[in-house]
């Protein structure tokens, strides 16, 4: 069969609400969890009197149908993710251009019903300034 016809698009994406496909992946769900660790100080009666929030991270997870075996669709866990279409600009004070995004766990699922499906977790660490170095 011929290649799918190119779509003619009128209007623009709504960056707040519209999920976009990553290269080689048809994205079905995309989540970003913005976190910090906390360290609490309590007084002698056990009451919280001070909370320190540190180590900001973004935990990204998404699931997708694989279109072609390239790029993120075949990337090795532990390696650096250079860019994500769905996290291309600053969100909640996190800038994807600062620090490093690291590919964590990846799970590929084959089924009768659908194409190869992949789900992966990515950690964005703003203070990791050099990727893939040893200790």
């Amino acid at each position: 069969m011929p290649a799918p016809l190119p779509v003619i698009i009128h209007g623009t994406d709504d960056p707040l609400h519209d999920m976009q496909d990553e290269a080689n992946l048809d994205i079905q769900e995309f989540k970003s969890k913005f976190t910090r660790e906390t360290r609490d100080r309590k007084d002698g009666k056990g009451n919280l009197r001070r909370r320190e929030c540190f180590n900001p991270l973004v935990a990204i997870s998404f699931s997708a149908l694989v279109v072609t075996a390239a790029g993120l669709a075949v990337q090795h866990p532990g390696t650096r993710v250079t860019s994500l279409v769905n996290y291309a600009t600053e969100k909640r004070g996190f800038d994807p251009a600062v620090g490093t995004m690291i590919l964590d766990d990846v799970e590929d699922t084959m089924s009768l019903e659908e194409d190869l499906k992949t789900s992966m977790n990515i950690t964005h660490a703003p203070f990791v300034v050099t990727a893939e170095e040893g200790p």
Binding site: M1, P2, A3, P4, L5, P6, V7, I9, D21, D26, I27, Q28, L65, V67, L112, E113, E114, D115
Partner: protein
């Protein structure tokens, strides 16, 4: 009526099956017509109906069509010795993804759809008698998973 995906894909499936009549031992269209719903063809039995029973969209560029392919005979009036052979032939053909894709790829450009058939599998089947309409049906449900940019 110009086709959309829920009539076009069942129609292609019926044409594919039609192309394999001789190979699978199925009789001619005069004896066993293939009917794609919705159709104005009057109720003649036996026949094979192709109906898109359900559509789902797991992604904006993807469609999963659940197509019911049913060999129907008049429950009270027809005793067809070849019914089991025809049922098996239909099931074999609609389970044969490789042959369906080969047949599709050989179509002339103007008959192609722009859809890309990614998956095709027979999900389940069964036999049922519809007392009201006096039809005995030998059903096979086929799911076809398509990808297209036309829905983006």
């Amino acid at each position: 009526m110009s086709p959309n995906s829920e009539t076009l894909i069942p129609s292609l499936l019926s044409e594919y099956l039609d192309s394999r009549r001789g190979q699978l031992g199925l009789p001619s269209a005069e004896i066993l017509p293939f009917v794609v719903a919705p159709s104005t063809v009057e109720q003649l039995f036996p026949r094979v109906m192709f109906v898109a029973a359900d559509m789902s969209f797991p992604h904006t560029k993807r469609i999963t069509l659940s197509i019911t392919v049913e060999l129907q005979t008049g429950a009270e009036t027809q005793e067809i010795p070849e019914e089991n052979i025809w049922t098996a032939a239909v099931r074999h053909a609609v389970s044969d993804k490789a042959s369906f894709r080969t047949w599709l790829s050989a179509l002339p450009v103007e008959q192609r759809t722009g859809y890309e058939v990614r998956k095709m599998w027979a999900v389940d089947g069964g036999m049922a008698v519809d007392d009201g309409n006096k039809i005995r049906g030998r059903r096979t449900s086929v799911n076809i998973h398509l990808r297209t940019d036309e829905l983006a």
